[in-house]
């Protein structure tokens, strides 16, 4: 096992594919466990803005991320009942070594296909949607393996109106 500074493209890809699988299979609690205790999950509207002083689609610290997963798995939500089906494509993976703090920066593109099934004629259901995104991860090596210190998902149409994005992009 190398240091974070030597994180290879192949190991980074394996990590991202596994993460995508956890989300597609709605194993949200296992996904949440990929984050460090100080991990941040950000889906900005305008990625140029400082998130603490602006408004994001999602700006979760670890505690709020825990609430997000709890809400999905343990509470009577309407917006994910019926739940979304998703298929994630991960590509264009690039690893930028970052000596500081055992962290590497990994950039990739993701295409998320999403739809919620339902009966005939139901507004909002049975409609596949596609989300293209530029993603940036900050990964840290820990005793428990690679962990996500930060995940940022910037949609191509981040500043346009969206229907329900509660499937966890």
């Amino acid at each position: 096992m190398g240091t974070a500074a030597t994180l290879g493209a192949e190991e980074a890809e394996r990590f991202l594919f596994a993460e995508a699988r956890l989300l597609d299979e709605r194993r949200f609690d296992e996904w949440e466990a990929l984050f460090t205790d100080d991990g941040v999950y950000l889906v900005p509207i305008d990625p140029a803005k400082e998130p603490s002083r602006s408004i994001s689609i999602i700006y979760d610290d670890r505690r709020r991320l825990g609430e997000r997963v709890f809400r999905q798995m343990k509470t009577p939500v309407l917006d994910q009942n019926p739940p979304s089906r998703t298929i994630r494509f991960v590509s264009n993976v690039e690893v930028a070594p970052d000596a500081a703090d055992g962290i590497a920066t990994v950039r990739c593109h993701q295409l998320i296909a999403e739809m919620r099934p339902g009966g005939p004629g139901q507004a909002g259901l049975n409609a596949p949607r596609w989300f293209a995104a530029r993603c940036e991860y900050r990964l840290r090596r820990t005793d428990g393996g690679l962990k996500i210190a930060a995940k940022k998902v910037v949609f191509l149409n981040s500043d346009l109106p969206h229907y329900n994005l509660s499937f966890i992009p």
Binding site: L78, Q122, L165
Partner: protein, 424 residues
């Protein structure tokens, strides 16, 4: 688009203002003819909210908006005034601005290069020898909207030449707007851009009806209540008790609100809690307002201003109808001016937690809008009930005041809707 007289007669029938069983017909949500008439008779006739003063701080700033079906530009000219211009070149009709917002002192039409100042004046024509020497440019500026007016930073336009003044339109809701601003000790807010935006396959009035609906919370937001319980902020039982308190108010001119009781007890209101936690905030608030005013200000309210504006504790909400079954909503979070920064950051994070397309509450509301939009296609009975609390509401100072779970504000909405749709 002109709406035929027969249709106008039919619109009247869609609202049944029965004293015991107020109801509306499902066609108000689904009928494309109703939608076309709403754009012409409501959105292109009433005062419509188009933006906030703080969005155009400097001369040259502009933003484009659509009111009803009409593209408009709001600009701040070098004279300091805001102008509202039809976004339509006087030559052959191209828009002169394609951006959502920006900064420019003039607008150049890209088709044949006519140029307009940002107060609308025509200041340049390409190859102008093609027009006679006495061509009077002053008659060919971008046309200004018939009426633009502001109330305390909120900008409204009226596309009809005739009609009530903005002050007359807002009068029934004015004190609530003032109290809403009063959580800032300088009574000003500043928008935080860009806004949250969402859209849903459903009618715009579903968002209006829901924003001050105190009846759905324990069901649609049980999930949210469980999150608050998990974080030990409140138990589900406490939240459900709180949700019985306050009032739902239907106002004249189609406005309405949901209101929780005001209080200077830090356990009972956000304002009092912030005043306890941040002494400099308490000092500023007490320096500005009397005790009685502070109680009124501390009441949490969702205030609807007919036809497209909501004032919430964290954001200004703008409802933008797109089609009978498609609506966009924009949530402009704002900072309260003159308060410690930490208070605003807490408000921003609190907003993100509940609102927006991935919040823990708003997507559940949007889900039920789609359920109504689907359901009302079944015409077996055809009517939706809005009679909750009709037997127990009282009229006070021209307001219909109901229990917090009653449909008094929704009835006000549809009374005014019918007036605008079916009367001259």
């Amino acid at each position: 688009m002109a709406v035929g007289e027969r249709a106008v007669g039919r619109f009247r029938e869609l609202v049944d203002d029965d004293p015991r069983e107020f109801r509306i017909h499902g066609a108000v949500y689904t009928d494309p003819e109703v939608f076309v008439a709403e754009m012409a008779r409501i959105f292109e006739r009433s005062w419509v909210y188009v933006g906030h003063d703080s969005e155009l701080p400097a001369a040259g700033d502009y933003k484009t908006v659509v009111v009803g079906t009409q593209p408009l530009i709001l600009t701040r000219h070098e004279d300091g005034e805001i102008y509202c211009l039809y976004n339509r070149c006087r030559h052959r009709g191209a828009v002169v601005c394609r951006q959502e917002r920006g900064h420019s002192n003039f607008f150049r039409c890209r088709y044949h290069n006519w140029v307009y100042a940002n107060n609308g004046d025509l200041i340049g024509m390409s190859q102008s020898t093609g027009y006679p020497d006495d061509f009077d440019r002053s008659g060919y500026g971008l046309v200004r909207a018939p009426a633009l007016a502001a109330y305390r930073g909120l900008l409204f336009v009226r596309l009809a030449e005739q009609g009530p003044s903005l002050a007359e339109h807002l009068a029934p809701a004015r004190r609530y707007i003032d109290w809403w601003l009063g959580r800032s000790p300088v009574e000003e807010v500043e928008l935080v851009l860009p806004p949250h935006r969402y859209e849903y396959p459903g009618n715009w009035k579903l968002q209006v009806e829901n924003g001050y609906d105190g009846y759905h919370g324990n069901y649609v937001h049980l999930s949210w209540q469980r999150v608050l319980q998990l974080s030990r902020e409140s138990t589900v039982e406490e939240i459900q008790r709180y949700r019985q308190s306050g009032a739902a108010r239907g106002l004249a001119n189609g406005h309405g609100l949901l209101e929780r009781p005001g209080s200077l007890n830090p356990n009972a209101s956000w304002t009092a809690r912030m005043m306890q936690r941040y002494p400099e905030y308490a000092e500023a608030m007490r320096g500005r307002f009397s005790e009685e005013q502070l109680v009124a200000i501390s009441a949490r309210r969702n205030i609807f201003i007919f036809p497209n504006l909501y004032l919430f504790d964290t954001h200004i909400r703008v409802i933008m109808p797109k089609a009978a079954d498609r609506t966009e909503v924009q949530l402009y979070v704002y900072a309260l001016k003159g308060v410690p920064e930490v208070i605003n950051e807490g408000r921003f994070r609190g907003h993100e937690r509940f609102y927006g397309p991935a919040g823990f509450g708003a997507p559940d509301d949007i889900e039920v809008f789609t359920e109504v939009q689907t359901g009302v296609h079944a015409t077996g009975h055809g009517w939706n009930l809005l009679n909750r609390g009709q037997h127990r509401e009282r009229i006070e100072e021209g307001e219909w005041v109901g229990h917090t779970t009653d449909e008094a504000p929704q009835r006000s909405l549809y009374r005014h809707w019918r007036r605008m749709m079916a009367e001259a």
